[in-house]
């Protein structure tokens, strides 16, 4: 199953996600036809449990799709839709199909009005909101986490974008939600911030793998002083550093994905998002150094990837947010020693 879903995704993205498609998307055009193909292949449902209509791929494999999407710079909310559908399924809400996105619900107030739940407030920097059919978010009602499925057509969306030109919109919310679109989340999966951080860590890893590959190819092809620049030791050392950072990021992100829905998830995501963000700094800078001026142009594909990893660092918690959480957990843990904390895969953090 793994190789099938991976192969499908890899082939689909390789054939259809071109530099031109990324350019058009950055200019505001949603690649509708590509989304249809993604839905036809069923990729958007991969993280939904079998009993809720998914096809029973282990979560760590379904999440692996996000790394592949990142490696191709896919300008569509596939990661967001995967998470949104998984959260809807967990809350027992209808899976409506279409493009979905996710948002942290801190800016929402919920109250009961008759049989419905009234939601009001603002969601900021919502990924792909204007291309999405629904925004899935989690907010508190009666002291418990509730999942909301907000139809975008009933919201006020003000366009904004991230460094890579991808929609990151402001959304004003003021509507009544029938029971079918709001439900308590029975067991917390860690909240939208954590789930978002997980997928951004995976996507960052995939994008960095592409950046590394492009940099190796460029170093082999570009000739100066009569030889490929990859023959110069300074360039080799940069590439090796990029490989180490990318490998660390991938290990961190996959460790978090492996622990999806377990006690280790909370702190593994904190480690993954902060480690990937730190790696992005180094990998982006060195890739541009290796590429010289051509890499600093719109014409060259590199910027689609470096701008994405720079943007993703800031979403769903920055390195500072996550290292603070992890550090607080380490310093306040009941373990006798730091080592006992690090090796206890069930260690819990003090929640932010």
């Amino acid at each position: 199953m793994e190789s099938m879903i991976f192969d499908t995704a890899e082939r689909l993205f390789r054939d259809h996600v071109s530099h031109g498609l990324r350019e058009d998307a950055a200019a505001g055009q949603c690649p509708e036809a590509l989304w249809t193909r993604i839905e036809e292949a069923g990729l958007h449902m991969a993280l939904v449990p079998e009993e809720a209509g998914g096809f029973g791929v282990p979560a760590s494999e379904a999440l692996g799709l996000v790394r592949i999407a990142g490696a191709h710079g896919l300008p569509l909310p596939l990661a967001e839709t995967l998470i949104a559908n998984a959260v809807l399924a967990r809350a027992g809400l209808a899976l409506s199909g279409g493009r979905l996105t996710i948002a942290e619900g801190d800016g929402l107030q919920l109250e009961r009005r008759g049989g419905a739940v009234h939601a009001s407030g603002h969601l900021t920097l919502v990924p792909f909101a204007r291309w999405a059919d629904r925004i899935v978010t989690i907010a508190a009602l009666d002291g418990a986490d509730h999942v909301l499925s907000l139809p975008v057509k009933d919201l006020t969306v003000t366009p904004a974008r991230d460094l890579a030109g991808m929609p990151r919109d402001d959304v004003a919310v003021d509507l009544d939600l029938p029971g079918a679109n709001a439900a308590a989340l029975p067991v917390s999966m860690g909240g939208m911030r954590r789930l978002g951080a997980l997928v951004r860590s995976l996507a960052t890893t995939g994008a960095m793998e592409t950046i590394l590959k492009m940099s190796v190819e460029y170093a082999n092809d570009r000739v100066q002083f009569g030889r490929p620049i990859g023959k110069f030791q300074a360039i080799q050392q940069y590439l090796a550093t990029m490989a180490g950072e990318t490998a660390a990021s991938r290990t961190a992100a996959e460790m978090a994905a492996d622990s999806y829905d377990t006690a280790a998830f909370a702190l593994n995501v904190a480690a993954a998002k902060s480690r990937a963000g730190e790696a992005a700094e180094t990998v982006g800078a060195l890739a541009h150094q290796i590429h010289g001026a051509i890499g600093y142009t719109q014409e060259h594909a590199l910027h689609h990837f470096t701008k994405r990893i720079w943007s993703w660092r800031d979403e769903f918690g920055t390195e500072l947010d996550w290292t603070k959480e992890l550090g607080r957990a380490a310093l306040s843990s009941p373990h006798d020693t730091f080592w006992h904390f690090i090796t206890d895969s069930t260690a819990q953090g003090a929640m932010a």
Binding site: N220, G230, A243, A247, M255, S274, L331
Partner: protein, 382 residues
């Protein structure tokens, strides 16, 4: 891009029962072992400790039972190794033998060599040293000048090895030297198993490190006679044999836990009271440690499967050395508390020891620049 993939260690690789057994053993054995001794990390030498560890079955764990080993997995060995390092246990007297010399003898040695040596390694009785570096052959190992010439009944060795850690107490050395001429730079090399306690005409003299300690040595071979059965593996195959040792040598938890005593001291102090900035730094340190540990466990998993993850091991060692070298800087950026060699304040003493130790971390076992060269080649640079 397979170089960036570190497959997860198999499920159940935590071996929690084993871990708790090791912890209980260490709590008892090292009850009075002070932080400044723990700071020596795997450089601490104590034969009794190694023997006691062996009695528990924790030396030669991966060796076959017929050679005194315990036929356990590389991942079980990993648990024991990391617990020893995290506690700062004095392990050097069996460490090198357990990590690389034993596996090398098992892989390349004759039946007689295996029977004579391996069970004693597993009993924690033998200390090994590595005779690779020379005055004019450091990173460039192929420039080795020490030569073993075939004579009646064996070989005569001439040359000088340096930086040989613990040669002054070791029972055996695995010597890397030249045995013939070859057009190939890497040809004509061999390895020998040398009994340091009985072989004549070997002169071992101390080299004192910048911390004032005697860890490493110069070892001079002056027409030293080695019997033919001292040859380890194939004559002329020394280069590829050495290369296959490196994944064992480079990927273990000792490549990022060498400063761990200082981390524990630092966190002990910050637990009482910490600012947000301090918490964030400890969080960063925790994230890096979790990830390095996972990468290193992944390599142990690959070794267990009989793969040769030499490139992944080079990545672990490069990242690991950066990490363990950075700990004194980090500590100094979080606490204003001077280093005092041998000071009564354990933090100050551990900081002092660690500051003097860290420069060696990106030299020993292959320098940072050499590792990165290996990684770059692995990336497919033409």
């Amino acid at each position: 891009m397979t170089l960036t993939a570190f497959p997860s260690p198999p499920p159940g690789a935590d071996y929690d029962d084993l871990r708790q057994e090791v912890r209980a053993f260490l709590a008892k054995e090292l009850a009075d072992f002070p932080p400044e001794k723990r700071a020596e990390s795997w450089n601490g030498y104590n034969r009794d400790f190694s023997r006691k560890l062996a009695q528990r079955g924790w030396v030669g764990m991966t060796f076959p039972k017929e050679y005194g080993g315990h036929a356990r997995s590389a991942l079980e060995r990993y648990v024991v190794s990391e617990e020893l390092l995290a506690a700062g246990a004095p392990v050097i007297s069996h460490w090198i033998a357990d990590r690389q010399s034993g596996p090398l003898i098992l892989a390349k040695g004759t039946e007689d060599q295996k029977r004579a040596i391996v069970p004693r390694i597993a009993a924690g009785e033998l200390c090994f040293c590595i005779g690779m570096s020379e005055p004019d052959s450091g990173s460039d190992l192929a420039a080795t000048r020490t030569v073993a010439t075939e004579v009646e009944g064996g070989f005569r060795v001439n040359g000088t090895k340096v930086w040989t850690t613990y040669a002054h107490v070791a029972d055996y050395m695995i010597l890397f030297c030249r045995t013939g001429k070859s057009d190939d730079r890497h040809g004509g090399m061999s390895q020998f198993l040398i009994d340091l306690k009985t072989t004549e005409n070997i002169q071992i003299s101390p080299i004192i490190d910048l911390g004032g300690e005697h860890h490493f040595n110069q070892v001079v071979f002056d027409n030293t006679f080695l019997p033919s059965d001292a040859l380890l593996g194939q004559q002329g195959e020394g280069w590829s044999q050495v290369m296959s040792e490196l994944a064992f040598e480079r990927s273990g938890p000792e490549r990022f836990l060498s400063s761990f005593a200082l981390i524990e001291e630092l966190i002990r102090l910050l637990r009482k009271d910490s600012t947000e900035a301090q918490q964030a730094e400890i969080g960063r340190l925790s994230a890096h440690l979790k990830v390095l540990r996972q990468m290193s466990r992944s390599v142990a998993g690959m070794l267990n499967e009989g793969e040769n993850p030499a490139l992944q091991a080079a990545i672990v060692k490069d990242l690991g050395a950066l990490y363990e070298q950075d700990i004194p800087r980090l500590a100094r950026s979080l606490l204003s508390r001077p280093a005092v060699p041998g000071g009564r304040d354990s933090y100050a003493a551990v900081l002092a020891y660690t500051e003097l130790a860290v420069p060696s971390f990106s030299l020993r076992g292959g320098t940072r620049e050499i590792l990165r060269g290996i990684i770059a080649r692995g990336l497919g640079l033409r």
